[in-house]
Amino acid sequence: MSGQAVQLVRRTDDSVVEATLYDGMRPEDLLLVERAWSPERLRLYEQLLQKGVRRDEWPESLHWDWSKKAPELRFLQATGFGIVYDRSWEGVMLTKTAAHVARLAEDKGKPLVYVDYLEVAPWNWRVLPLELHGRFKGIGSVLFREAVKQSIDEGFHGRVGLHALPQAETYYEKVCGMTAIARDPIKQNLLYFEFSRGRAQKFLEEGGAT
């Protein structure tokens, strides 16, 4: 794995901390991520049940399991990125660089970086029904920006595509400036978003979702 310094913001006082963004995560790294995150997922699950929070207000990735995604990393087309602060994985992203092509008219049929999964650590989630606001913010933005950079490094000119969970739709559309294309019946009817070559360039010039 290779690492680079990135900045996260502590929610309690808006102070900036320096973390490390790694690319080239290995399958065993994802096993360690899930080992660290699953007790927190379980704790949140129990609290949500205890408080009688409606299911549609639960964090939508509560059931995810990174250990099941680990085998994906045996493929050349898959890359794992993760952010570490104080020896703790704070966010992880899995991208794919083959078998996905752009759907936007201006880029139709051209390759892009597809963000297969992106998740921040459960202790960084804002779970308002439980009055939890999360430890750090800015993790998703750092990872998304890295997907755009990977697209440029791959020669895809910043083109990125992803299917968003409903709770993240506003973020990708309003904060990142992605274009909503359509709901996808073969992906649990999730809304598919895309970043065009032109939009990606502007995104990076403007500092990108910070």
Binding site: G24, F75, L76, T97, A98, G109, K110
Partner: protein, 70 residues
């Protein structure tokens, strides 16, 4: 993307024409086209080896064809 290695690739004229055409249509460098091809080949081959099938489907014509990969 650290640790890259360089190799020389010998192609026939027809293969080079196809590579250049693909490079233009996909808005990619020729190196990127080759890398994409390798990624796809590996993904397909691994899944076929695991017993899955590769199928092309034409929704309009209601046709499906299994692709055999060597």
């Amino acid at each position: 993307m650290a640790g890259k290695r360089t190799m020389t690739l010998n192609l026939t004229g027809a293969e080079m024409d196809a590579l250049e055409d693909m490079s233009k249509r996909k808005d990619l460098s020729k190196t990127a086209v080759i890398r994409q091809a390798l990624r796809l080949y590996q993904a397909v081959d691994t899944r076929l080896a695991a017993g899955e099938k590769l199928v092309f489907e034409d929704e309009l014509e209601k046709k499906k064809a299994e692709v055999v990969v060597l």
